[in-house]
Symmetry: none
Subunit: 140 residues, 4 copies
């Protein structure tokens, strides 16, 4: 039998809160998604002005980061032409995201979920996702 | 040019809050989704214990209710064998939901969004969705 | 070699025009789709107030009627529980529509395309689709 | 509550009209799609000789441009190997288009919809889309 550590809804709200604060600070309305360690959605918010395309992209970045236990920008680095995972971006009906902005959330070495952010540049998305994690971790 | 009224994120949170309170009251952890008047997701929460299958079902109930401007239980009533919309439940890749728990959100006669709830019985889902609307409307 | 008769864009506009006039007359804003005899879209209009869910439903009703050479309400009749095509509504990823409002367009005994209408009751949708055909045929 | 500006059907027809005129001028039959600011289809025309593959491509270019508030050729520029959004072309089930020919339609600084064109070269598609916008804007 396995015993799995998993984000709960309160944890997800803390992740959202930290990400939202950074999005407000850099003045980019974002879509923010939180998934559990199985890749399944726990919470989502589209800030006013967040992009409609970013709904699915944020959810899929979080899905990828949590379920593959890998940041989406790390997938981006190894998915370039000639790279070992080249072409993986179209896997799972296109859900596997290789664009930055999806980060696994780890506690004591275990991936317990993920956060995915979209609507800014990938660098902004990643910064906002990291701020969500930093805020959450600070509460532990 | 059309001028459209649409739920904002703060409205969506009020809808979530009202639904969650009722879900707690009846002791059924729910998935709750809020969409705008075009059917696009604004906010989502899976309460601890909410069903994984209900993630998509709640989102699609809210999509249906907002984008078709009709409660999903009303679709259920007219989609029975022999009914006028029999078979519509598999439309739009199966996203059109005819199971109760999806309600349009109307303000001053205009549909401005929707709420979809799943994890309980359809009657419970509908009760929780209605509680979300009642709470939101009370704040206007 | 086959020689195929097919609606052109001008024909499609006449079908739209006739359908729109009836939709205005009965005061139901509709989504109206015209497909060719291969089921491929030629023209589409969502009247102001037409339902977002009806975009796909109108297109798929027209697809079904033209590509299967059968009115969608005729599929509805034979797809009831115990009927010969029971369950066919979920075929083709749910694109095969068995709800009324999709009609093949025939000229001299050949199906040359289809029209699909959605946003009203299936009876209204069918009436509007028929009005499109009547208007088009009257110009031949 | 948000108040949103959105293209109406008459606006969509003006966009189609301007695009069609340019397509006729350069003698390339096109598929032309108009979406609202939420990415949902308002109007579509496939000119006689337009490509069947271009039906979906035109619709998805317009979806991308309106829902992401960004021209599809701008996505193309930043999605090359090594670029920040490399791999985003397979997002949203492949609906996110990075090939030129999709443009957001803006009025007074707000994105109110989009236009997507396909069947020519991407440069021709983009020229035709821009002609649609120019014609529409000239009527305001």
């Amino acid at each position: 039998m396995q015993l799995i550590k998993r984000l709960d809804l309160n944890d997800a709200r803390l992740l959202l809160e930290g990400a939202r604060a950074k999005a407000d600070e850099i003045n980019v309305p974002m879509c923010i998604a939180i998934t559990d360690e199985g890749g399944n959605l726990i919470a989502f918010e589209r800030m006013d002005g967040g992009k409609v395309t970013s709904i699915t992209i944020a959810i899929d970045k979080s899905f990828t980061a949590s379920a593959a236990k890998k940041a989406t920008h790390d997938y981006g680095a190894i998915s370039q032409p000639g790279g070992p995972t080249y072409g993986i971006d179209s896997a799972i009906g296109g859900r596997l995201m290789v664009v930055g902005g999806g980060l696994p959330v780890s506690v004591d070495g275990d991936v317990v979920g993920g956060i995915g952010v979209s609507s800014g540049t990938p660098a902004q998305d990643r910064e906002v996702a990291q701020a969500g994690i930093d805020h959450f971790i600070a509460t532990l």
